[in-house]
Amino acid sequence: MTEVARCFTGWTIDKPREIAQFKFDERLHDPDPKLVLGKKIHADGMKDGEEVIELLAHNPNTAKFISTKLARRFVSDAPPAALVARMQQTFESSDGDIRAVMKTMIYSPEFWSRDAYRAKIKTPFELVISAARALATDVDTPMPLVQWTGRIGEPLYQCQPPTGYSDKADAWVNTGALLNRLNYSLALAGNKVRGSRTDVPALLGMDSSTDAKAALDRGVQLFLGGETGPSTVATLQKELENPQVLQAKLDDPVRQIDLGVVAGLVLGAPEFQRR
């Protein structure tokens, strides 16, 4: 670490508050030889740093690390080793061309396999944003959404380890966080998030409804692309047809389904937690 840092001495920014351009300052450079990954570096001046970059870019571990990261991001939390190996190969043969590596991944059978289909759990940020988008929510004040993101487990820009937030599900799926995901969906669809406005009836295309099944079918169609286990609608319908849930208004003796709750329930479904 210290040796690498020595190689980069002199790399700086000219007038960071004004034009902020890269600059190499010879006077700040440590001209003595350095030893990085067993290799002596003494290329002189700015070339020292460039040599380190070369060295790292061609290290097989770099190809493996970046390929694994990409596959974990786009395929699954534990990407197939064979896929990662082929991506790594492309990385090496293309001299680190990320586009080529991505092509290898996207054209792979593993990418399109059943196992990889919606295999990723949404991060808290993705969940918060995707629910707001699904509901066509009008966001005036984003701060409350930022706070929900934190409560669901991802306080924005506050990750402590320099490695960044995890790209694996086990970091995001825990008891407290799951409850907050459900409560966020209910709050957003029920218009209880300050500074955000959602018009669920317009979205579902019904002013009001006494038919829980119709409202649920519409919600599942809209928010889950119709993809849900066959029993989900039936299960939710049963809960919603509970006489306590149906609202009776004084001037309207016909009992109504609370559409905000319908939307909140569907957005809290396991299917919506996946990407």
């Binding site: 409560r151 306080p155 799926v173 008891t175 709050a187 299960t235 809960e239 937690q273």
Partner: protein, 432 residues
Amino acid sequence: MSMSDHCCEGSRPLKFSRRYFLKQSGIAMVGLSAMPAFLQRAVASTPMPNKKQFVVLFQRGAADGLNIVVPFGEPNYYRMRPSIAIPQPSRGSAEAAIDLDGFFGLHPSLAPLEPLFHKNELAIVHATGSPDPTRSHFDAQDFMESGTPGIKATEDGWLNRTVRTVPEDNASPFRAVAMGSNLPRMLQGSASAIALPDLKQFKVMPQGAGMGAAVEGGFEAMYAQTVDHALKGTGTETFEAIDLLRKVDPSKYAPENGAQYPTSRLGQSLQQIGQLLKANVGVEVLFVDCGGWDNHVNEGGAQGQLSNLLKDLGQGLAAFHQDMGDRMQNVVVVTMSEFGRTAKENGNRGTDHGHANCMFVMGGDVKGGHVYGRWPGLNDHQLNDGRDLALTTDFRSVLGELLTRHIGVGDLKTVFPGFENNPQKFLGLVRA
């Protein structure tokens, strides 16, 4: 074949049958082996009187250990802190240090803790902390929570690793709890842990009145039915936790033995900790934090900013101790802060970022009544970097002993990787 396979073919009898059994305590009706996992857990988490519990209290912002446990026997202490030093003990003075052992004294605002010290249920470790020299709150808290001073890349916290090293089948969803809305770094990791801002808020909260049961039932059924393994497991745990807590009925809690918790956030968090521990829901480790300790300006002496924080802390801990009563036999509470403060006061009648600090250890099996740790002295040449209390005990050694002797952690290497935690060097804080 578990019972849930028999009983749950319909849309939601799982919920009914579980709550029914819990309510009726009808555990004797079915053999243990036929019991579904959640019931086994509920059983396992109910009668375990000898289960040890461990509470960590983090003072964020770097508390001033030298004014909390005052080395009044050091003449240099008074020279370095002309306006904020705590006066030497003097009979009848409410402004003076409370004598503990003729050399150290408690800040007068910690008076509620004095009897616990003399009853040998409170121990103090002085000149302890993280050996990393950083003076950044951010880095130092990170190191104290990851348990790996100097290493930024550690992803999980030592308290989470602690839970992981003592595997337990059918662990309660409340095994590891942090009081607050986010899981602290210390509890992050692969073992499951819950952040609880408020026990009363741990439930599904729909907007419409009277909809709670239906909405919760809907969510519970969806998660019980999903083929998604991870979400199903977490969903089951979540609704179990909600159930257990409903049984406890947090809104009807009254502290015992006349304990009066402060109304502050810390006081209320400690009260909820007491409530959770008494509820027998299988809690083993708990985390709570409190802030405001970064007193660069007008820190105050016997009165003032630090004094107010200490009143809150002292009353809170004493109330917790009183409320827990005999249950304190199974509990250890430990306090920590990221680093101490400069031995000399600064030009603003405050103190700046320092190094070593003090830790409190309270509990029934603690060998209290003593200030532990080698005292490095406060003469100018004895100070760390010429400005702070030097460090003589690594915080991992204090925690290592508590984890080993109180909750029975066998593998300290996993909890504190890269730290040689030699039991020979334990301070002897816990009764064998």
